[in-house]
Symmetry: D2
């Protein structure tokens, strides 16, 4: 695969695009789950954090796919938001939320590597 600046994606960037895409999908699915099963006040907070993660991971993936050097700044933000989601969702004893913690933790690692 060739990126939008004409160079082959590095393995590291290809993995980061994959993790951001997976996190985008899992967090979007999980926000519907949280909405149906959470308690009112906390739910509003968790869904807001998940929505931040859905949008910034999509944005980070798009910057990398466009071959933009500015992906570093965006990946720095997505890493921090992924860490926030992993922390917020680790308190839930629930299969969907365990998957959220797993994918956001993996995504944070790859985004941190791209941001460096």
């Amino acid at each position: 695969m060739v990126d939008a600046a004409g160079k082959t994606f590095s393995d590291e960037m290809a993995r980061c695009i994959d993790e951001c895409t997976r996190t985008h999908q899992v967090c979007l699915t999980a926000s519907g789950h949280a909405l149906r099963h959470g308690g009112a006040e906390n739910t509003a907070h968790v869904i807001r954090v998940l929505s931040d993660c859905v949008e910034i991971c999509q944005t980070a993936a798009n910057f990398m796919l466009r071959g933009s050097p500015n992906h570093r700044q965006v990946c720095s933000v997505s890493a921090r938001i992924c860490r926030e989601v992993a922390e917020e969702c680790s308190v839930f004893d629930d299969e969907v939320m365990r998957q959220v913690v797993e994918v956001t933790t993996a995504c944070a690692e790859t985004c941190e590597a791209m941001a460096a």
Copy 2:
């Protein structure tokens, strides 16, 4: 995987989400390629069509991930735009554009199935 309305995605929908995601990524990458290698006037047209495809496939995938019944209407539009891209890009004798034709054709088929 569980969708945002709490039901397991059907195999057909899971495949459509995958195809929309792949088409989003390939068309975004290809638009950078077209920009660097195309001739002026035609390039503007091809990039506009590719940009439409990038955005509508992302939107279609998001509607499915949210578990929205409105995905049918969006998939109907993404199917038509994928067909347009496949036709426009089939005239190029070039590896990147051949991949675009392949993924948009496969994506159009799954979107047509979801729109029905």
Copy 3:
């Protein structure tokens, strides 16, 4: 203002871009409001419909800003989703939701005109 195909936007299209942008903003704001104040089951449904509207209005505005003839198909979908939101939200006796009904109704009208 000049659109992405080099022609001046018609007054009608400029108005539709404005209405889609306003609806995007009001529905995104309202979904946070619904999350904090609504009853569990209904809230999940209203927020899903509002999220559909947020995303399709942004997409419709972007198609028009890009000067894409495919805006007609997208505006047809955004018109229908705006009508759905206006109907769903008309049952709430609440200032935020009354604003949602007002902006989605106005947006549906301009989108229907662009889709024709």
Copy 4:
């Protein structure tokens, strides 16, 4: 107007949302213009930078509309990308590009204030 966390937007945030929205629209329109009128190599670069700006300004506006405290991090990135666009586009002697420089400069200022 009430934001997604239930507080009235400050005047400063309302202005930043407006500037991000305006920059999103002007840069999306301008990228079509650059595509039709620019010289090949430079055009690819300018369009890539404009595309970064289109996407990050939309993302920044959405974070503020959702009432997310993470808007600070996103506004920091959008400020830097707006400055990059203003610098890149200041070399063009052209009405569309002069408007780009004007709106991205104003947007950078409001984003910097929100990021602080």
